[in-house]
Subunit: 439 residues, 4 copies
């Protein structure tokens, strides 16, 4: 059959309109024949709302793209070319618990870092591994593009334990950083190119080019400007301005999530304030989502509403479309994705996921070589990779000792005793979504 | 000339009697001809006290060992076979500042870890490098046995920047651990053998043998016994009893200093209490030292007084004598020392210092291979090695940015901002001993 | 000053017209202001002949490019942006000796492999290192693009011992292979893309894409076709058709030079025939060169004559122009060059030169990561890299023992005794060009 | 039950008396309760002859060691503590073919190197893997001590594909080298100690100690003495005297088998002479064996006859007894064995077998770390390791393409075409012993 079949699992997500827009605008190079939006029973209503908007968008475009809405994942997967996953197991309610429970014990509460990230991994990994099993059976040649968080650990789980090997993780942090660097330099985005390397949500801009010249030093200085530098962050992270001498000696630009490690105290304090005010991120997002779905229900709306760009996850879906296009056309352009390390970063196991600049070929990503990370960067990256590997192993085996070990070695954890208390409470809170730990 | 010439720099230390005892009891295999105790002007009085005790001890032994006391290091070094260094630049007063100033900013205050360890390295490394310079000129074939703390970083500094390559670092932690394990198992010390690996003050018992059988699992369980396990620590560290599941999943036995990382909260709290009570470790040690020197002044004393074994550094000097004996006799027995990694532990640079079980040959230590550390251990070890490498580079270059970077990436540090404040205060407090940062 | 300054050392080479053509056709993106053709006294005549042709070519193009001819290298280098080196120390006469002397002792005689390649390295490396010294002084920001053979070892010498770090080696083998693969597949060259990796003149096609799909297996089968496969070689190498099962199990496509190792016997036999017939490659090339220079002297000629493409080195110069253009424009396209390994291929030292697919940025090449080579490939690559490292060290130090060691470990050498005899004869034959061994 | 149970598979070997002598003389530290000599139907007669000699030797000793002779391997294995394997699948007749067939095609014919070694591996590995399967069932805690050749590849096969992990390979080359070095230095054997590293039959003396001092340089010089150096070889290898400058630059001492690589031409020539004279090694060994068994049949003989020491394999069995004693007593002395690399030699896969100095603990060998081999050594070692890995994979899978690949990449092979011819002939000649290739 002509054209490309896309399956989007978690299709009822508020981000779907961006995805649809992305496919519409790339139609000439990436002729999508059908898009299957898949969700679960609990998401039926959102799926219909967003699915209908998707249909209106396609209709407006005049393109021969068929939109299918379904709760039957296996029906959708059969014969797929690309599968994207944007699921949130336990929905925003679970995220709220990930944020609040660790904070109660004095640990950072966050969706992808620390105890919260660990439990999100515990909930998400088994579901994604099931999807790879279905894919092996129903569409063994298809690519899985995952942007469910924590994207790095989910990708690593697929690479090490999944049934298919064509798996790529995706994150919008590098895109945001590139945009923010362009703003800092007061130049058009097109003039800036960044060579990235590290882990998901722990990625560094290793080298920054302005029209082909290395301006890394200049950007590092600007990034510590108490005003300008502050702008460089994600929607969900309190901006910080690092000490200039620290960043200068570091020699590479950290991503916004690094502030949980390099500015532990302030980030924790800020979150504790939010907790007290009943304003953890999950609650804010719930409101934003509500507003977005209200918009989506408007039957006159047939474009991606501009408000969506204000949501933290902006550019994710566009990045996914770009990636799919480059694979489909063997474009061999450079994109930053989560993929198998295979020696790219020295000292990280070959089968671990890293996040780095890659060329995207018709057979998937090939990383640009990195070699040894700067010494001062390597320590933190290795520490988090240890945590990630342990977390993935615990997620797959359901071994509670490993879960405790993983959290105890996380640099945000204050002791194995606190780790134990936090894990016990989170295990109980999320028990419906953690069958592997409750056999 | 027949016999061995030993030079001990920092010879006025309270530990010297243990060293003298060690040489006396090994005389048959290690015929020491002369021992030079070297100190600086500020230590003249202690040098004389301890030196006179040494002379009485030798006299009692009836052995032809000449004891020399001098403030002239170069005179002593000429023609030496072995040089031991047990110096404390800035004396216990400086240690007190290392302990108190970080605590005032909410960071652990400790002699070899965190900010305190960093500044001890800053004060000590330039002096030891000077010694290697003198040795190259005056006794190029001699071995330098260092037990000045932080022994790992001092050894690494010598390996990377020193003028001689025959350098070994020494620590009493592995010996203490082996003894404590024997106690836990309720067996004689001789029946226990431990394969060690990691970094100085961050070493792990990787495999524990009881009469040739692997009993690691059993010891790990015992170590978490709330009563028995508690006994496993150094004089200067509050004992902790880890969560059993944590240790079981870790799979190797941490050393007492690990509790600063795996039990950050309690150790910090305990130290803050000590600070409040005016009882940081340096002050306690000052008292112990005072008592010891009072004993040493007794002209009837001609043995190592048993009270010395209560001091935290017990067995250090005996370990040094053992090491010297094994080199001298090409004994090829197994001892745990700080030496060049050279691929022993995967992922650590070849030229970095590690602490591990080695055979001791006539040409120095050869490490028993380790390979990949357990995943959960590797993260912390890499993180601390990053800190150590940066600290050594800052110590050698006097680059204040690197000093800030080193402290900011230390897992005990809460933020780059706090790191900056702590560094500024310590730089000022120790400025007389930090010429490299004040050029 | 506007525009780019190019310096070509060995400007009197017969390849220069291809270079000039390359710059003319890229003028819109790569505005070359001046080209300096540099040669030595012995090459004055050829320099003038080819230089005048270059001037006629530029004149015909109507572009404002100034051509300078000079014997003064330092004058030329001042302020250069790009320096290309295409020198042949000792000229074709030396090549003849490299080919004949080893053959007399039963060893392969070849310009870039075995004893001949070793001596070409000995003659060339000191000269290129001198050039890097001049460049550091006169144009420290310029790139050195070397295509003097043996390009891999020359590049490695620059990376390890050169005064500048902006050095890239270039070879036309990958381009030829890509063309030959397209012919094998009977498709346009543009539809084929190959991911290369290995060493210079020992590079493998690791993965072959046809319109984005992996066709490596298919090409491997075709390559062993006794007729079609035979076409896949360079001008200077006798074509072979490997055993199908061998290539299938190898799993990657060797380059033409591999036949010296995988078909030692036939290649050696063929060369011995040539030796007997007085027809070693150097002699053939001398004739071709003579013909070419006869053509170049024709004052009506103002284009690159088509006969030049028949010469073994075709596409070299075009590759150089492409590379310069991509650096100048930060094009980030993929080209195959010789560059610093830096962990790209596992098990090869970071500072060694490898040949592999790279993206070409404004700051030079960044390799596409390779990781572990296939096991069966790794052995030969490591063996040759050992030879190359030893050869480079001997070339730089003038240590004759190292020269003997290098040749003795080469897999084409039958014994250390033969190696010694060959070296002695070549050292004598080339002594005018080997000052480092004759101090 | 008290005491140790030993099982020797291939118990009918002529070496068995050395083994028995070894156990008798170590009885105080290694109380052997029973020794089971196992053989196959074809070896029944030799088993009885040698078994009866063993019984007489034990009787003479007066020790309570029971000798059992059996053709039932499984009966013997039940409850064993140590299993030694000294099998020769296809007996000396097969060895003869391994030596003659490659030579007919111009390749070296040798028991453990090149095509012959490959086919010995093909015949032996499946049998040893079967033994590990039986051991897993019948004596899962026992150690397998293999000295069947090619010992390196057999050990690697067990480590990667065996059912038990307690496997050690053993070779007498290091012991011979140490003895020969002592002779060269004209000192007692006890005064010499050598640090070894490399692969089986490709091991190097990396560092040579005389009474604790490094005398490597001195031994290297002596080893090239045309008279003295010549003595340094095995019974089965023609002695060579290397070029002094070659050995000096190599910096480590090669083992006798290295002459197949560093002196390819002379060794091949010598073997071709032997072939012509009908005197390949297998035939000589057949005669020696005949004589030995004639001796063994003498019912008055109750000691190991001195003639056995003239056989090439002398000291093998004594080494095995030493190894068993050190494991049994957790002696932690240093012995050279074949074991898992696990990072000991840089650049060799963790799961490959290497040969190196190890301490022998109650839980088996722990290698002394080596790190990077000298550059010039690394190439050959990597090349042979590639060959070994491919050979093992072919042996286990029965993949004929891999067999061809393995032989084609061996540095002793002149081309893939010759490799194919040799393999075809050897596959046919040995087909009764190669079921895996004939399914």
């Amino acid at each position: 059959m002509e054209g490309v079949k896309i399956v989007t699992i978690g299709g009822g997500s508020s981000y779907t309109p961006e995805l649809i827009e992305g496919f519409i605008k790339r139609y000439q190079s990436l002729p999508v024949r059908e898009i299957w939006l898949v969700d679960i029973e609990e998401g039926r209503e959102k799926l219909e709302t967003v699915g209908n908007l998707a249909k209106r968008m396609v209709k407006k475009s005049g393109l021969p793209i068929a939109i299918h809405l379904t709760l039957d994942r296996r029906e959708a997967l059969a014969g797929a070319d690309f599968v994207t996953t944007q699921i949130r197991v336990g929905q925003l309610k679970a995220r709220g618990l990930d944020e609040q429970i660790p904070l109660k014990h004095g640990l950072l509460g966050q969706e992808t870092n620390g105890a919260g990230g660990m439990f999100k991994a515990f909930r998400t990994i088994p579901v994604i591994l099931e999807i790879t099993k279905d894919m092996k059976e129903l569409c063994p040649e298809a690519w899985l593009i995952n942007f469910s968080n924590p994207a790095g650990m989910v990708t690593e789980a697929c690479l090490r334990y999944g049934q298919i090997k064509k798996v790529i993780g995706l994150c919008n942090v590098p895109i945001h950083m590139e945009m923010d660097i362009a703003k800092l330099l007061e130049v058009p985005k097109e003039d800036v190119w960044v060579r990235f390397g590290g882990l998901n949500h722990l990625v560094y801009a290793l080298q920054i080019f302005l029209k082909g010249k290395d301006v890394t030093g200049q950007v590092l200085e600007l990034s510590t400007d108490p005003e300008k530098g502050m702008a460089m962050t994600m929607k969900n992270i309190m901006p910080v301005s690092y000490e200039r001498e620290f960043i200068r000696a570091l020699g590479v630009l950290p991503c916004p999530y690094h502030s949980y490690y390099y500015r532990k105290d302030e980030q924790l304090k800020e979150e504790l304030v939010q907790l007290k005010e009943g304003a953890v991120r999950a609650l804010k997002v719930q409101e934003i989502e509500k507003e977005l779905f209200a918009l989506y229900q408007n039957e006159d709306l047939d474009i991606k509403p501009p408000q969506l760009e204000q949501r933290g996850g902006a550019y994710y879906s566009d990045a996914a479309c770009s990636l799919i296009e480059s694979i489909y056309t063997d474009k061999r352009d450079i994109q930053t994705v989560d993929t198998r390390n295979n020696g790219t970063i020295a000292g990280i196991p070959d089968d671990s996921a890293i996040e780095c600049s890659c060329i995207i070929t018709g057979e998937g990503p090939v990383p640009l070589n990195i070699g040894h990370l700067p010494v001062a960067v390597n320590g933190l990256v290795q520490e988090i990779k240890s945590f990630e590997r342990m977390t993935v192993e615990a997620a797959v085996t359901g071994d509670r000792d490993k879960a405790l070990l993983a959290l105890s070695i996380n640099p945000l954890t204050t002791s194995d005793k606190v780790a134990k208390a936090v894990i016990e409470e989170l295990m109980e809170a999320h028990k419906d979504y953690l069958p592997q730990f409750n056999r």
